[in-house]
Amino acid sequence: MSHFARFARAVAGMAAGALLSGCMLFARPPKDLDYSRTRASAGGAYRATIVPQGDSIPRNRLHRWTLHLETAAGAPVDSATVAVDGGMPQHGHGLPTKPRVTRHVGNGDHVVDGMKFNMGGWWVVTFRVAAASGTDSVVFNLKL
């Protein structure tokens, strides 16, 4: 085997090793992620905006978000049932807490309490919204 072939094989082996190993834990998030704080739901039924209390998202501290919901046409959605879920796709774990909507304050605004993020990296938070326009999910990407 030539030196080059041996070198190429070694590089390929290292690359494969990196993919199989704990590198996933410190992998960079996909490049094309949308970190917008206003997003459309997957089926297009709703538009949601998140407003973390204090604007920046703290690490390792319980805090509150406001979730603003409106229909695709822009009408505020007040009587929604909202389930909160999320986690770190690259680590395979969920949120450290069980956040939930604690108050509906009108004008489409919902208070979400119990938000917490216990490590840095790429997080997703999903709101499953059930209201007059149907049931739909909206996903937010966060970089902490």
């Binding site: 704990g22 590198c23 834990l25 969920g94 949120l95 216990n118 490590m119």
Partner: protein, 425 residues
Amino acid sequence: MRPPRLALVVAALTALVLTSAAVHALTAGARTAGPRWSAAERETLRTLSLASLGPLPKDPSNRVADDPRAAALGHRLFFDARLSGDGRVSCATCHVPAREFQDGVALAEGMGTTARRTMPVAGTAHSPWLFWDGRADSQWAQALGPLESAVEHGGSRTQYAHAVAAHYRADYEAVFGPLPALDGLPEKAGPVADTAWRAAWARIPPARQQDVSRVYANIGKAIAAYERTIGFAPTRFDRWVDAELAGRPQTAESALTDDEVAGARLFIGRASCVNCHNGPRFTDDHFHNTGVPRPSVALPEDSGRATGVRQALASEFACTGRHSDAGPDDCAELRFATTEGEELVRAYKTPSLRGVAGRAPYMHAGQVGTLAAVVAHYDRAPAAPAGHSELKPLRLTARERAQLEAFLRTLSAPVAAPPGFLRQP
């Protein structure tokens, strides 16, 4: 006149040699000036410094948490072996102040042998969850667990109330107000495993049970006031990182070796330790299954956080319980705790790494004997005996494992405490 071809070649070679020497000198210069850190790495390093630790969070569930008289009382209670079934076990028996408030053995020894490793005390006032499985949500709720455990202090609730009345009446009443009447109450009774003591407790009228439990809760609150004063002192790592980030030259007290710096780089980078061991206490205060093996001695099956969170919610000494001083909105950690899911099975609290080198053996039941073996465990990432390990193999070299260990050894310093608080009062 055209220069001879040989002269050109010599000139070219000379230029090449000089350029390569210059590059080499520059590289060497950069190395001696210290490693370079990316902006993200600098930010991560900053969050690990003790200088990033904020003030002690309030404990609204304990109204005497910051009362110095309560701390002084708690100091005496912490060392008092009369608060035990056999008069020989105090908090300080296992939480030895001179040893970072731990005992250096795999399974703590009180009146019997427990199923878990003694945890250190420093900085726990910052922790939302206490014990390896987080089955207590405050320092005071934690302190009450061992007192009624048959294998730890092995005493009972009425016994402790009588002890306070006999030995601490004035100091107790100065902090908490008048003691209730305890006359006629059995010497030993409580909602504990011992059947005779349990039966005696059941015969006490509920109102008097509550009086006794209130005194018992206040013992925990005084001990918590004492423990709140036990904190961290800056380590060599803190001095190094503060100088590094400020661009100050390192001194003999702050300098880290090349291996220790390489270990720091692995810790916040490729080895991913900082995912969970983050912030100035090197913990995310959360619970993780990291594939820690079962102990070699036979113990009941231990499901970690899966059981711990239920115990925390059900505890009569929880933030939401009748003995807590908290308001209805104060107990957010408990109200928003994750209570179900595979992730809780055999998940244990991320321990702080401050002082870690002095606290062998490691893990929740002392399963891993040395710091080198701990690093090897995380490198190897074995499958969990139950539930699913969050780890993936790191594939570090032996040199890299040694560098990580060297870095971990820079995180030690004696605990910080008010004068006299580390000694028997």
